[in-house]
């Protein structure tokens, strides 16, 4: 039964703006996945022996594992042998400065609006005083092609490197923390990532340092049939603070491509990490052809007292999203936050949420999840709040709201609450609704057309989350919300 509301959302086709491919020469690993692939990647990266062993151990483990099927996702079987696990732009002898970078890649980032030069502003945000600066690590398929503001960060003591550089330059630090939060055997996709991860970002903020600028990584899948497996590791030492942004896009292609990333965050005493993601992988076309399979394991360990990790995500892309940024709240009075807006349109499927594992006394967590479904998509919030017997005085607040645009989509909420300490205060609320005719009528009576009215209401619905984003990202995210819903909003 079509409601009045749904009828209003006639289909208007809108292309994915980031769907262009860049034509550059690339080196590929042989197609398929075997121990040789793992050795190939490790050799390409000039990795030390211990790293290769670590990868091989993960690979052997992966072969014994089965892909999880508990999520509310309909994924055709994936042929892991029918993909390239490594693709890098053909290197020019050695890149001494950014001027040596392949102009095609450079143009790609210009088109994407990502500053790989050390420019002052990411977006033209008025009134941003003093000018805000963002250091960028740009990952193109399997390799990091540029990292900006290195020198300035180094003066502050912050290490901001691609992870392959970090493995060579700071082996002790990497060895100490890699796999500590997301162990090799954690889950099917994390294990696969441990075996074949190609690049990613490593950040270390030393004791007492407030990172002088926002750090960001921009992931771009370009090559056909290629999986991207990046690994991010961020360690904030005692009293440190860092804000990290992550953005992603991919060209429009008819096949599905695999993206299986692992992100590990560690916050020691009094440290704070703010991790923001705007995920805009190619979602496939309106018939569900193509698009990225996004299987991501993100987890933070709040190890120290009073440590804090805040995840903010705006998920608009990917054909399939399987992603649960989590916090292990081990430290006393540690704080975990999760703010999420997930938008699905056409045939997209998202199963996303968070886990808050309370182990420390007085640890607190907040979960705010806003799901928006349109078209024929399915949007699921799946979350876990667990309180260990030793965790005294835990507080959790969870709110998940779903908004349905049209009557062909689904919105689902699957929260798990497991409490083993009576002093815990756990609250969970959820609502599901559609945009009310009254709201729409009011906005339109003020002169907005229907599309603008819906965009306004949706942005209002997601406001609590968008507020958590750094300003540049918030502007981008707001635009993205509008664009993602075009085609569903007539």
């Amino acid at each position: 039964m079509a409601t009045k509301n749904a009828e209003a959302y006639a289909a208007v086709s809108k292309k994915y703006e980031w769907g262009f491919a860049t034509d550059i020469e690339q080196d590929f690993a042989p197609k398929g996945l075997s121990e040789d692939t793992v050795r190939y990647i490790s050799a390409k990266k000039n990795e030390p022996e211990w790293m290769l062993d670590w990868r091989l151990k993960a690979f052997r483990l992966w072969q014994t594992m089965e892909a999880p099927d508990w999520a509310k996702l309909n994924i055709p079987p994936i042929d892991y042998q029918d993909a390239y696990y490594y693709a890098e732009p053909k290197a020019k002898a050695t890149i001494k400065s950014l001027d040596d970078l392949d102009p095609e890649i450079r143009r790609t980032y210009e088109k994407l609006g990502i500053p790989i030069e050390e420019q002052k502003l990411l977006a033209n945000v008025e009134g941003a005083e003093p000018p805000r600066r963002v250091a960028v690590d740009a990952v193109f398929d399997s390799v990091s092609v540029a990292t900006t503001f290195r020198a300035e960060l180094e003066r502050a003591g912050v290490i901001f490197r691609s992870i392959s550089e970090a493995i060579r330059e700071y082996p002790e630090l990497v060895k100490k923390w890699l796999g500590k939060v997301v162990p090799q055997r954690d889950n099917y996709f994390a294990t696969l990532n441990s075996a074949v991860f190609s690049d990613g970002t490593f950040v270390y903020v030393p004791e007492g340092v407030r990172c002088p600028m926002e750090l960001s990584t921009y992931f771009r899948i370009n090559a056909e049939n290629t999986g991207q497996f990046e690994r991010t590791l961020i360690v904030a030492d005692k009293g440190a603070y860092v804000s990290y942004l992550e953005g992603c896009t991919a060209p429009m292609r008819d096949e599905n491509q695999l993206h299986a990333a692992v992100v590990e965050l560690v916050a020691l005493d009094d440290a704070e990490i703010k991790y923001s993601t705007v995920q805009n992988w190619y979602p496939g076309d309106e018939n569900g052809v193509g698009g990225i399979y996004n299987f991501v394991t993100k987890r933070a360990l709040c190890q120290g007292r009073n440590s804090k990790v805040s995840w903010t995500q705006v998920e608009t892309g990917s054909a399939v999203t399987w992603k649960y940024p989590s916090c292990v709240l081990a430290g006393e009075n540690s704080v975990g936050e999760f703010y999420s807006v997930a938008v699905t349109n056409n045939r997209q499927q998202a199963d996303t949420g968070t886990k808050m594992i309370h182990l420390g006394k007085g640890s607190r967590s907040t979960i705010v999840s806003k799901g928006i479904s349109a078209g024929r998509s399915d949007n699921t919030y799946r979350g876990l709040v667990r309180v260990a017997p030793t965790a005294e005085g835990v507080r959790n607040f969870t709110q998940c709201d779903s908004l349905l645009l049209g009557d062909q989509c689904g919105a689902h909420t699957v929260p798990y609450i497991e409490v083993r300490n009576p002093s815990a205060q756990i609250e969970h609320e959820a609502t599901t609704s559609k945009i009310s005719e009254d709201q729409l009528f009011y906005a339109m009576s003020r002169g907005l057309d229907q599309e603008a009215a819906v965009a306004l209401i949706v942005n209002g619905f997601a406001r609590e989350v968008l507020q958590q984003l750094p300003m540049e990202f918030a502007v981008e995210a707001q635009k993205l919300l509008g664009i993602s819903l075009e085609g569903s909003v007539g």
């Binding site: 409601t3 645009l405 009557d407 062909q408 689902h412 409490v419 815990a424 609320e429 959820a430 599901t432």
Partner: protein, 370 residues
Amino acid sequence: MALSAQAWRRPSVPELLDLPSTRAEAWRWADMGALSAAAALAPIARAEHEEHFLDLPGARLLFVNGVLDEVHSVLDRVTLIEHVAGDHALGRHAQGTGWSLRLDTDAAADPVQVVHVATGGENHLPAEIVLADDAVATVVETFVGAGWSNRATRIALGRSARLQRSVRLLQAGGFVSLREEAELGSGASLVSVFLGAGQAGSRIDGQVVVGEGGYAEMGGALLTAGQQRQECAVRVRHAEPNGQSHQLWRAVAADTSVASLAAAVEVARHAQKTDGEQSLRGLLLQRTATVNLKPELEIFADDVKCAHGATVGELDTRALFYMQSRGIPKPRAQAILTRAFVADALDRIASEPVREAFAADADAWLDGAL
């Protein structure tokens, strides 16, 4: 594992039952190991059954280890028929001869009381309640004794039929597994209330399909102590528009016990104007106890009102303080507040004698635990 001499009705070993593992989402908190232990319980003396029948007119069925005790039973409108097995992992083991209540259009039966006595080992029993249009019935079931009691109940309600169903699990040991499958016609109403106040483990597996303008309630209270584990896994599916459902569950866990409440509401694509409500609340009496909650929503229609609330914690310290300041000793204040917490779920029972009997069982449990 050696078969108990009393596992005579269906001499199968639970390990061979091909049960799902806890890796399956719907069985995540299930305690399948308890089935083997329950089925292997040594025979015990038959419990007194008389006291478990309430002073109500109508049919009285006494099943001892899943077999009708004809001497002590009054069948009234109930018949015994052969049932075919469904496909539920536990429910399918309850097949063969079982009871059946079928009412014609506009019929109203006196309450049907069923007492299940287990004396060790395992026993299985299927049942059906089929009400034609506008028929009205009340069914009260009580489980006592020890062993593994496994039940599969199929409920079909015609247009505007009404069924009030109350089930109390009072077994002193073992395990009770219930599989409930209900289908509601347009405007039909089903109110099911479960009380777990015994010492046995339990799993209540429910699936209710609500028709146009139908009304369904699935709720109850699970009280666990010692090393007991009780859980419910119920799903209400709104297949047609204008339906209403309420799932109101309360769990109280003491000692090292585990109480798990998983309740789902599903709204089909064209089931517009559905009003689905869930309220799951857990109360932990000791820090060694566990409460698990999973209030799940699965919504495919855009013009619906669905909300769920879930909380876990201890008694409100301010309410306790207030009562103490009025001269009520702390243990008494705790008992009153806990009773009120559980009463929420039992208030849904419409028949007064049944509600009072259930409340008395809950009180007896609370007196022991507090």
